[in-house]
């Protein structure tokens, strides 16, 4: 059992009763209990993904709360934070309630809606943050759009401060990214694809750290992809700025060379970067600068991806490949097992003030069981997500979720081979 918050990293039994952790010990028994033999496996707190696009309401052809929840639990996630860029966007309690109702009906993982920072995600006026919070939102973000106005971002950080939840920022200065479709660098120059300079992310990270410091706001940076962004966060945190951040598995695994051949399954925003960035992300994940691994699960169908590169939609799915990719970092010696688990549990829970993320007595019985040595090949055709847009199809990986338990109920079990 690996439970970083409670300092557990060794053989344990854990007893779940009435939807909560009843007891953890070297030897626990209860004759009335159903036994799940997890010998040789990792028993960890239910994984939490703070950045997923469930596409409902409005784009149910790509994903629904139900299909996204199926993908989540298959990937070991017992909780996800659902981004608000739906149609209509989640800038109203009605949309929040719709997402929650769909989640209740799906009855799989916990779904925490994120509310918009600005009305309509237009970046002009503040959304009804208090109303959204009361309806069940756990943070505010305009993701996949940036808040271009520094003035609005400052006001959002300030206004949200007493609400006790983070403002999550998608850092992209649109006047810098312009018509760019991939990272500025040798691959873009060779392929004749318009470049996105790194400053599009880094300059806005710098801006928002200054703003968060000035108003003592609580800031969470979505999908950091540049080495300079990690360095800025490290330095700001040393000064006491209340900032957390996340990195995606595709950003810490692939470089922009994955775009070679105009592969739209390697097109996302922010784009894949250079080897130095992958190294800096890995270092940041290891040393705690980066608080969590979050997938930015972004389903798109063939009509949006099987296109000319510059016209293809940005985004890749990620719920069902996060665990093996995180374990690749463990295998490469970049992360300890405990640190990898923390990035998927304790880290996200703390960053967003969510329950769970640990298996102390009394915690919700959200548990993920991982077989760290299972070898398999990623097959997008077998995804539970409605969409197959992944750059990892065909990749040989090690590490697989065998069971996912939410509130004491098994919501996913990997079929025996």
């Amino acid at each position: 059992m690996i439970d970083p918050r409670n300092g557990v990293d060794g053989p344990r039994d854990v007893l779940l009763r009435d939807g909560a952790v009843a007891e953890v010990g070297e030897k626990v028994s209860d004759p009335a209990a159903e036994v799940l033999d997890a010998a040789g496996k990792w028993v960890v707190p239910g994984l939490i993904d703070v950045h997923v696009h469930l596409r409902e309401p409005g784009e149910e052809g790509k994903e629904t709360v139900l299909s996204g929840s199926r993908a989540a639990v298959a990937g070991g996630f017992t909780a996800v934070v659902a981004m608000p860029n739906t149609r209509p966007p989640n800038d109203s309690p009605q949309v929040t309630e719709l997402v929650l109702a769909r989640a209740r009906a799906a009855d799989l993982c916990r779904v925490y809606p994120a509310g918009a920072i600005s009305k309509g995600l237009l970046g002009e006026e503040l959304s009804e943050m208090g109303e959204l919070l009361a309806a069940g939102c756990v943070c505010f973000t305009d993701d996949g759009r940036p808040v271009m106005s520094a003035g609005l971002m400052r006001r959002a950080l300030l206004y949200a401060r007493p609400l006790g939840v983070p403002v999550m920022a998608h850092e992209e200065d649109l006047t810098l990214s312009g018509h760019g479709v991939m990272n500025e660098g040798p691959t873009a120059a060779r392929l004749g694809l318009l470049p996105v300079p790194r400053s599009a992310e880094v300059a806005m990270v710098a801006r928002d750290l200054v703003l968060a410091e000035e108003v003592d706001g609580r800031l969470h940076l979505a999908h950091v992809s540049c080495a300079e962004s990690v360095a800025l966060v490290r330095e700001a945190r040393r000064r006491g700025v209340r900032v957390t951040c996340e990195a995606t598995p595709h950003h810490f695994t692939l470089t922009d060379e994955a775009v070679d051949g105009y592969r739209t399954e390697a097109k996302m925003n922010p784009p894949l970067r250079r080897p130095e960035d992958v190294a800096a992300l890995r270092q940041g994940l290891a040393d705690g600068t980066i608080d969590c691994i979050a997938t930015d699960h972004a389903p798109h169908g063939p009509l949006d991806k099987e296109l000319e590169f510059d016209r293809a939609a940005n985004g890749v799915v990620g719920l069902e490949t996060a665990v093996p990719l995180a374990l690749e970092l463990v295998g490469a010696g970049a992360l300890s097992p405990s640190r990898a688990v923390a990035l998927l549990t304790d880290g996200p829970a703390r960053a967003f003030g969510l329950p769970g993320g640990h298996l102390g007595k009394g915690a919700a019985a959200d548990v993920t069981v991982i077989d760290p040595s299972a070898e398999w090949v990623v097959d997008a055709e077998r995804f539970r997500s409605r969409c197959r847009n992944t750059p990892f199809h065909g990749r040989k990986v090690r590490g697989r979720v065998t069971h996912t338990v939410v509130g004491g109920r098994a919501v996913f079990e990997e079929a025996q081979r």
Binding site: P186, R190, L191, G192, L193, Y262, E306, L307, E308, R311
Partner: protein, 299 residues
């Protein structure tokens, strides 16, 4: 006939031998009398999603000289106006059984994407800012006729390199043939990353002209002013235009090329374009034979 090729999508990935084989065949086609009617009974479909004067006409004449029938499809008047995608357009034309599709499109990578969807031979007539391989072949052909073997020759390409498929294809083709390429233009339009592909980078035209064996001027799109890539046509012409004064300072054997169309008196002075150093119309003439060699070789 030149060595067989499955497609002509890009110079990148071709060998020197393949390039020289095409150039040799073009030379013998130009020198000889009637070409073999190797495409007799076949259809060559020009699929031009972007406007073109030279390339489309040149491919059409080349195809006809080889005995092919030509379909000329352009976006104007097509169902693209109804939202039909590139892939659907290619699949539908391909279903009519052309032997070859010659395609120009505004997206980089479009040629490769279309090639995967079509049974017909695919010839890239320009895909976005990625490559324009037949242009590079005819430029190399033209340069060889005046400079001899291109080994060690210094070719200067001036202009909006960032957005130029002609620059990319020429860099690769000339480098394959042993030449040394310099890119020159405003820093906002000349990506430093091309140094990794062997190009020298310069932002000073007068300095870059020294020692050049030939100069290729590229059209600057005046619309780029609104993207703050350079301030005005006047400033551009003064700093990176091949003015009459600059041309007069060039040693006698140095030739001037331009893929066309030209903005006269912006990137190139009108007298220079029409002057004794200019090979511009000769490039166009050679384009027909080069494209005949390409069409013959692709099967």
């Amino acid at each position: 006939m030149a060595d067989r090729l499955p497609n002509l999508l890009a110079i990148q990935g071709m060998t020197r031998a393949q390039v020289e084989s095409l150039l040799d065949r073009a030379a013998s086609l130009e020198a000889g009398a009637e070409p073999p009617r190797s495409l007799s009974g076949k259809v060559v479909a020009n699929l031009f999603f972007e406007d073109s004067t030279r390339t489309r006409s040149s491919f059409e004449i080349a195809a006809k000289r080889l005995g092919a029938e030509v379909l000329n499809w352009t976006t104007r008047g097509s169902s693209v106006s109804k939202g039909e995608t590139l892939l659907d357009t290619v699949r539908n034309i391909d279903a009519m059984g052309p032997h070859a599709i010659v395609m120009r499109h505004s997206s980089s990578g479009a040629a490769a994407l279309a090639a995967r969807a079509a049974r017909a031979v695919m010839i890239n007539a320009g895909d976005g800012t990625h490559e324009h391989p037949s242009q590079a072949l005819l430029d190399a052909f033209t340069l060889k006729r005046h400079l001899g073997p291109l080994e060690g020759k210094r070719i200067l390409i001036v202009g909006d390199i960032l957005h130029s498929r002609v620059a990319r294809s020429n860099l690769r083709c000339l480098t394959l043939l042993g030449a040394r390429v310099t890119f020159c233009g405003p820093p906002t339009l000349v990506p430093g990353e091309f140094a990794a592909e062997g190009a020298e980078i310069s932002f000073d035209l007068d300095r870059a002209l020294e020692g050049a064996d030939a100069v290729m001027m590229l059209r600057v799109q005046l619309e780029r002013q609104t993207d703050a890539l350079f301030p005005t046509a006047r400033e551009y012409a003064r700093r990176w235009g091949l003015t009459q004064a600059r041309a007069e300072r060039l040693p006698p054997g140095v030739k001037v090329l331009h893929p066309g169309p030209m903005n006269r008196n912006v990137e190139i002075a009108t007298q220079v374009a029409d002057g004794p150093r200019s090979l511009i119309l000769e490039q166009v003439r050679h384009g027909v034979a080069v494209r005949m060699a390409v069409l013959e070789a692709c099967a």
